[in-house]
Symmetry: C2
Subunit: 334 residues, 2 copies
DNA sequence: TACGTTTCCGAAAACCTTTTAGTTCTCGGG
DNA sequence: CCCGAGAACTAAAAGGTTTTCGGAAACGTA
């Protein structure tokens, strides 16, 4: 909390050289005698000199800073993506500016302007769901990469989890366990995530020549709905031997209600969730088998491709990132 | 993704004035004729001019940017604080640079240097627990405010939840319901949060002239421990009529195990959690009465006090922010 | 007309660093 | 001793904005 910031000028004076030489010495450039370099470095250390990134950025046009614009309230899905991105960037010397638009388009524009006036080198937009969202790339003179929620412009660079594949993987696991009467309880139909997962289920069942047990039950992403659905389903389709749930919350509710109704999990009914939200999936009893969307990897990948785009090597299109299955007790072999 | 950035020079030329006049017009300064100002504004709008924050910051020494340094992996507690801070800043024109040190002191130093070289105007440090953490303020030429985890230097500005008060509030609620045999199940003893909450319990009981039922049960912050503790406690102290749990996870486990052992909640045993982690507290059955630490408010307050400190009005000391009780079904009246 | 006052505008400095294009130094060879 | 080449160094410009200060224009008064 003190005095004037120390500049390269101070370092140069202390070392008894010009600022040009000091700059070269500090940046490891040629054309400076070893002994001189040493003197400059010593002076810089003594004054604990920190080059002013603003001045440097003004000159080079590169701030080594990227913006991260989230539309949800950095919720369940934004966090891991953010962490992955921060991770990828942090490895170099990048800094991340975080903006949360709270789902408000006006605020988003505002944040976008703020980021641009600070001359970020690129922007990652994190969606609140996997539903496509309006592109911002046209208004923006730097590369943009979309993570989790893709842009509605196919020319943009987007990374989304492969929900169809993830769901198919889950159902194939159930089939491999010998389950044949498989039901599906999931979230609201207007979520692309819910529709994609239902589609994955359909594909896997069809490939196995198997019928779905009952209709897909659309509801909400809540534990409450999982419980409610369990009650209805066990009444309507008593022969069900497996349930693929659209989220861990739904699955947790389902498991609880099923057990209360005297059905053992996984004995009578195997249950699979989605998200691998560990506070739920590892703490329910039995612990949930679930699909992990590798969100942190997704974030890291998005960041790496933002780097590439900043480097002129853009990779347009919607890239689907594979999910993986985390097998726990709720689908243990009989 | 196009051409050279437009500068104030372009605006000035288009408006047919000097850059000095353009600057004054754009910044609402005096000494510029109304008609001229209009011309400049029109030119700026036409070119969609964005002033270069780097140049501005270089000159003014103010970047209108703050750093947010978290030590945990932006975990359970960092998020709300971050949101609150972003909220407080976003109202003005502040931007937030996010750095996650992953609990590593080296990385923290690294991030700190990165923030300082970018000339942030201030820094918020978010702790991973309420245990005091090493101060960084000496090495830093800008104001620092600590949120959630206080600095170990009492001259620094820290904001922490008032866990003692929160716990007392919870216990008073139990007492008001007529419960007298109150037990305590909590997390590891090396967490100050756990110790503070136990202390709040002691104070409230003492004020009511009431004995604690059994010893405080130290364990971990997990649902598993809650279940385990419930089994032990119901065996050892069958007369218990209320349990104050050190976290919602512990409480959720406790409730589950108690119900399985045939004790009704809240009929036989009232249960209170801590944290108001909504995914747990609203979804367990019965829904948990719990202590909410107002973390988002805490973050916002920290941000506001950082503003004050940047303005030369620092407020040294460890400020304890009040918690509030969220009453749900797990302590409903008999 | 001369002069003083306002009002408005523009030239230039300042912020800090990097890079370019010299300039000086050193030293070996003639 | 001088020259030339290469190494080591420096002055200055550039990057975009704000601010200060001086100057010009416009206008009113004597």
């Amino acid at each position: 909390m003190a005095g004037r910031r120390v500049t390269i000028n101070d370092v140069a004076s202390l070392a008894g050289v010009s600022i040009a030489t000091a700059s070269k010495a500090l940046n490891g450039r040629q054309d400076v005698r070893a002994s001189t370099r040493e003197r400059v470095l010593a002076a810089a250390a003594e004054l604990s000199f920190q080059p002013n990134a603003l001045a440097r950025g003004l000159l080079s046009g590169q701030t080594r800073t990227v913006g991260l614009l989230t539309s949800d309230s950095v919720g369940r899905f934004g966090i891991p993506v953010l962490l992955g991105a921060e991770d990828a960037f942090g490895a170099g010397e990048m800094a991340v500016m975080l903006c949360d638009a709270r789902g408000d388009a006006i605020r988003e524009q505002h944040h976008l302007r703020a980021l641009l006036s600070r001359r970020v080198d690129g922007i990652i937009v994190v969606g609140e769901s996997t539903n496509p969202r309006p592109s911002v790339s046209k208004d923006v003179p730097v590369p943009v990469v979309y993570a989790y929620g893709p842009s509605d412009d196919p020319e943009d660079v987007s990374f989304v989890p492969d929900d169809v594949g993830g769901a198919a993987m889950a159902v194939e696991h159930l089939l491999a366990l010998g389950r044949r009467r498989i039901a599906h309880v999931t979230g609201p139909r207007h979520y692309k995530a819910a529709r994609d997962r239902a589609e994955g289920l359909r594909i896997a069942l069809e490939a196995a020549g198997c019928e779905q047990a009952g209709e897909t039950m659309w509801g909400s992403w809540s534990q409450r709905w999982g419980r409610h659905a369990a009650e209805m389903l066990l009444m309507a389709e008593p022969g069900v031997d497996a349930v693929f749930c659209g989220s861990d919350q739904v699955a947790a509710g389902f498991v609880e209600a099923a057990r209360e109704r005297g059905r053992s999990v996984p004995g009578d009914i195997a249950v699979i969730g989605y998200d691998n939200w560990e506070v739920l999936s590892t703490e329910t009893r039995p612990a949930l088998t679930t699909v992990d969307m590798n969100l942190e990897l997704l974030g890291r990948t998005a960041a790496q491709h933002l780097f590439a785009a900043m480097d002129g090597r853009a990779t347009p299109g919607v890239h689907r990132m594979p999910c993986h299955l985390v097998i726990r007790d709720s689908t243990a072999a009989a």
